[in-house]
Structures are given as C-alpha cells and as structure tokens.
C-alpha cells in the first residue's frame, strides 16, 4: 500500500508537515515536526531510487485519472537521483538548523521559517517528480514563494530588498515558463511530458514550437541563475538566514537544472534542441561567460557569502556546459556536477553559518586568523574549498574530469583549456580566503569569538566528508549520472 503510493507521499509528506508546523506555532515543536517529515521524505526518496534502479520507471496516476488526462507522477533514474539529492540535503542540515535558526530568527517567527522550509521542500520534490508541465509550474511557484519568504526572514533589512528583487525576477521567469507551456498546449493539446514528446514530433517544424522552447529555456534559466540572468542570486544568498542559504544553494538551482534537462532531452529531444536549433553555441557561450565572469567577480568579494554566491553562478556554468555538449560524457559531467556542487556548496555555506554564529560577521577582513581560533571548523572550509577548485580526491574533480574528457572527445581542446583555466580562478578566490583565515595574526573580533556548537560542526563536517567520499567512490554519483545521461540521450520514449 505504502509502496504503491510512494510518489504521492514524496510530495504530500512535506506539504502536511508544513501545515502542522504552521499550526503548532512553537519554534521547537515545529523543528521537531520538520525533522520527522524531512527524514520520512528522505526515506521515501531512497525507496523510490531503489525501486527505479531495480524495476525501471514508475508511473503514478494522481486521483486514478489516467494520463494524459490526469496528472501523472513519473519517476525514472534521473529524477529519483535529484529527489534523493534534495531530500538528503533537506534532512541533513536540520540538526544544524535548530541552533542556527535560534540565533538568527526571533522566536515568534521560527515556526513560520520551518513551515516555509517544508513548503519549499514540497515544491522542489513536486517539480522533480511530476510528469505534467503545468503541475511543474504550480510546484515551481510553491517553492519560489516559500523561498522569497525564507529570504525575507533574514536579520538584515537588506534581506527584504533581496527577497523583493528575487520575487520580481522569479515571477518573470516562472511566467515565461508558463507562456512556453501554453504555446505547447495550443500546438499539441496535452500537458503530459511523455505525451508531449510524442505529439511534438508532428509539429516541431512550426515556429510556435521554437518560440515555446525559447520561452521555456529562458524562464528556467532565470530560476537556475544562468549567466546573465543571475543578478538576483548573490543578494538572495548573502542576506537569507544561513540555513536558507545552505538549502537553496544546494537544491533550488539544481532542481531548475533538472527541469531544463527534462524539457531539452525528454520533451523536445536532443536532435531538435541541439540539432535543428542553435542551442549548443549559445549555451556554451553563456556557460563559459558564467565560469569566468562570475568567478572573477567572486575573487573581488569581501563578504564571504556573496563570494560563494558568485561562485555558485560560476559552477552552474559547468553544469550547463555539460548540457550544451549533449554527449554521454558531457551530460554525465553536468549531472554529476549537480550533485557534487550541491554537497560542496552546502558544506561551505554550513561552515559560513558557523562563522556567523561565532563571530557575527562573514566579512573577510574581520576574520583574519580565524583558522587558528577555530581550526576544526575552518579546516572544513579548506577541504570543501579544494572540492570547489576541483582538486583530485574531492568530488569537484570528478565533474571536472568528465567535462574535460567530454571536450577532448569532441576535439574541442580550447574548451578543455577554458574549463581548467576557470578553476584556476577558484584557486585564487579560495586561496585568498584561506590565506587570511590561517596566515594572518588574529584580529580582536576573532580573539573574542565564541566556541561553535558541536552539532553545527558535526553537520558541516558530515558534508565536508561527503565531498571527499564522493571524490573517491562515485558509484552513487557518476554511476547514476551516467545511467541518467544515457536515458536522457535516448530521447523521448
């Protein structure tokens, strides 16, 4: 019974959790509800992945309406993988969240934060699991609206502006997406993704379908912060509560990437998106621009959260680069980087959350010598930073390896050079911070910092350890990513 309804539970659990968290009104109890829900969601996601790996795609009919008339939830390798990623991050950071939120958010607002957290989780899992284009829009808005609220809960008044700007940009993006879906509906009369892919074949030469693709790609690109549509991201990440930053950086953009993959490969099909339209050069150009532009801007940031936010924009460039290559190796690189970057960035933002907790600032110059004061915590920053650079033995290296190999397979040696050159800029911005943290005499602020709570350090190190583990054992990451890439490249089934 439960086994059959797993796809529905994946979305309904966090939704109901959110309602209960809103009703209890007490921060601590809401946290407990969130924790239980988060763990349950994670278990469901794992069960789904196991089931899909064993028995192939699962189709679930919501309310027993037969697709394509009813809404279908459809789980295959790639979205099972994304579901696991999202729910792992959501669950793992919760013990950390309690301490961090207690510091950063006033008691009467804490329950609301957890409500929004669960709603966001519900939206993200919904986008991932649904097989219906319009349903994805609704979940996109569920996750977005809750995200705006989470950001606005930040302590700094600038968080309000960041949330407002994100709201404007995010809504435009979502509306672009829904325009594209509308055009597809007009041309095919269906919203079911599988159904769409079969019916599109007859009409794909029309200009309307091309326009639909353009609207959808631009709309989703806004959500995934593809350069130059990223301007909302640095402020949103910098001023949101630490926990929200961790969660968003690790999951929200990744789910948007998933949606893009789904449309490009499963709905339109690689032959159409990359063959008939000139998507490859455009995506390549923007990806490379992101890798360099955003990395260089990151090197000039004084606020560490903003620095990592710009670095996120750059790292999204690697993911879209893999997509643009549209080969098995490239796509594997892009998808595996989804995961690797998620855990790396989560680890880094978790460490920054601890820094903020202890020192009440994340500005580089105020943190000179912090490494000597908090060696264990800051060693975590160094290791995760190495993964960001892509040093071998860390998760970041695996993605870079695939991307470079994919470029060389195509004979595009210049692209391989660009990939490795851009990671050198990461050496600069990570190295700059490491130097200040470890090799300058501690400032007064740093001498006076308090000790970090063990649970926060443990959570951060769990994530840091994951970045190293997935640099050595990649069965779960590159293995699944390559399966997903193969199934995506087979195109519409």
């Amino acid at each position: 019974m439960i086994g059959e309804n797993l796809p529905a539970l994946q979305v309904i659990l966090p939704l109901f959790g959110a309602i209960i968290a809103a009703l209890v009104r007490r921060g601590d109890i809401a946290w407990l509800v969130t924790l239980v829900t988060g763990v349950a969601t994670l278990m469901v996601a794992f069960a789904l992945l196991v089931k899909v790996l064993a028995g192939g795609p699962i189709s679930y009919e919501i309310g027993d309406w037969v697709p394509p008339i009813g809404i279908e939830y459809r789980v295959d390798v790639i979205n099972a993988y994304v579901l696991v990623l999202v729910s792992v991050i959501a669950a793992v950071i919760l013990p950390y969240a309690r301490t961090s939120i207690a510091l950063e958010i006033r008691e009467e607002r804490r329950a609301w934060f957890y409500t929004m957290y669960l709603l966001c989780l519900c939206g993200l899992t919904g986008i991932t699991i649904t097989g219906d284009a319009f349903n994805a829009f609704v979940f996109l808005e569920v996750s977005s609206l809750s995200t705006y609220t989470m950001i606005a809960l930040g302590r700094d008044r600038r968080a309000l502006i960041a949330a407002y700007q994100y709201l404007i940009m995010g809504t435009i993006g979502a509306t672009f997406y829904v325009i594209g879906v509308g055009l597809l509906l007009v041309m095919t009369g269906t919203l079911n993704l599988v159904d769409l892919s079969t019916r599109l074949v007859e009409v794909e030469s029309t200009r309307t379908v091309s326009a639909a693709l353009a609207f959808i790609v631009v709309g989703i690109s806004l959500k995934l912060a593809l350069f130059p549509l990223h301007v909302w991201l640095p402020n949103a990440y910098a001023y949101a509560p630490s926990v929200a930053t961790v969660f968003l950086a690790a999951t929200a953009t990744k789910v948007a990437v998933y949606l893009l993959l789904r449309f490009l490969f499963s709905v339109f099909g690689a032959h159409f998106a990359f063959g008939q339209l000139v998507l490859t050069p455009m995506l390549l150009l923007l990806s490379v621009a992101a890798m360099f532009g955003a990395s260089i801007v990151a090197a000039f940031q004084n606020n560490l959260k903003r620095m990592l936010a710009y670095s996120s924009v750059a790292q999204i460039g690697y993911v879209t680069l893999g997509i643009a290559l549209a080969t098995a190796t490239g796509l594997t690189g892009g998808i595996v980087h989804l995961f690797n970057h998620a855990i790396t960035k989560a680890a880094l933002f978790l460490v920054l959350g601890i820094v903020f907790y202890c020192a009440a600032t994340v500005r580089v110059e105020d943190l000179a010598g912090l490494g000597r004061r908090l060696p264990v915590t800051m060693a975590g920053f160094v290791v995760a930073g190495l993964s960001l650079i892509g040093v071998p033995g860390t998760a970041g290296f695996i993605s870079k390896w695939y991307l470079v190999a994919a470029a060389l397979e195509k004979g595009w040696w210049w692209l391989a050079v660009l990939v490795v050159a851009s990671s050198l800029i990461a050496v600069i911005y990570v190295g700059r911070v490491v130097e200040v943290l470890w090799f300058r005499a501690p400032t007064e602020t740093v001498a006076a910092v308090r000790d970090p709570p063990t649970v926060m350090v443990a959570t951060a190190w769990l994530m840091v350890a994951a970045t190293v583990y997935f640099g050595i054992d990649t069965n779960l990451t590159a293995g699944v990513a390559s399966l997903a890439a193969d199934s995506l490249l087979q195109g519409p089934q």
Binding site: F134, V138, A152, R158, Y164, I168, V178, I179, N235
Partner: protein, 127 residues
C-alpha cells in the same frame, strides 16, 4: 488585404502580446515598488488570455456529454488558469507584504532612494 485580415483575425493574440509587453515594461521602467508589482500582475494576466482565448470556440457549448451539446469548448485551459490566478494572487500579496516591510525598514518604497543607502544593490556595483 490578406495580411490585414490575417492580422485582424488574431486580434486576441495582439491583445495578449500588448499586455505582456506593457506589463514587462512597467516592471523594468518603474522605480516604485508597488507599481512594479502592478506591472508584474498585468504581465501575468496576459498569460491567462494566452491560455483562454484558443480554448474558446465560437458557438460552442459547455462540455457536457448529452444531447444538444456538441462542439464544446476545451475546459482544460479554464481549470489551469484558475490555478494560475491563485498563484498570481499569492505572488501579488506576498510582494505587497514585502513592500510593506520594506517601507517600515527604509521609510520609502522608491528603489533609487533605497539604492542610495544600500550600495550593493546598484546594478553593476559589488561592494
């Protein structure tokens, strides 16, 4: 003549496109945060038309299976847009709530005045 007829025949799309562009223009060009939200709403509303107008069939009947009902309009867009309206209202109200909070925090809802106090939000400026 043909071209003119062609253009007139799709008047519903022209209205949609006009609203879409006008809404986007307001979002981009206005500095007042409430006006921006108004523009955003107009932009979203244009999408409702985009969905609804192709669903309408002149002389069509309600979609009921029974005698006397034939050539009915597609009910699906209406259902979808009902949902979209709800989403739109939620977005608008959240946006307005944020504007209220911004007004409390800064004492203004004009973007330029806020940007003067908070340098890092200026376009192209990064601390």
């Amino acid at each position: 003549m043909n071209l003119v007829q062609e253009i007139l025949a799709h008047y519903n799309h022209w209205i949609t496109i006009f609203l879409m562009v006008a809404g986007l223009y307001v979002v981009v060009a206005r500095g007042n945060m409430v006006k921006k939200l108004v523009g955003l709403s107009i932009f979203q509303t244009s999408v409702y038309l985009l969905y609804l107008s192709p669903g309408k069939i002149l002389g069509g009947t309600p979609p009921i299976i029974g005698e006397g009902y034939s050539g009915y309009a597609n009910p699906l867009p209406h259902v979808l847009i009902l949902t979209a309206i709800v989403v739109g209202v939620a977005t608008l109200s959240l946006g307005l709530a944020l504007v209220v909070r911004i007004n409390e925090a800064y004492g203004t809802i004009e973007e330029d005045e806020i940007f003067e106090t908070e340098e890092q939000f200026q376009p192209g400026e990064d601390e």
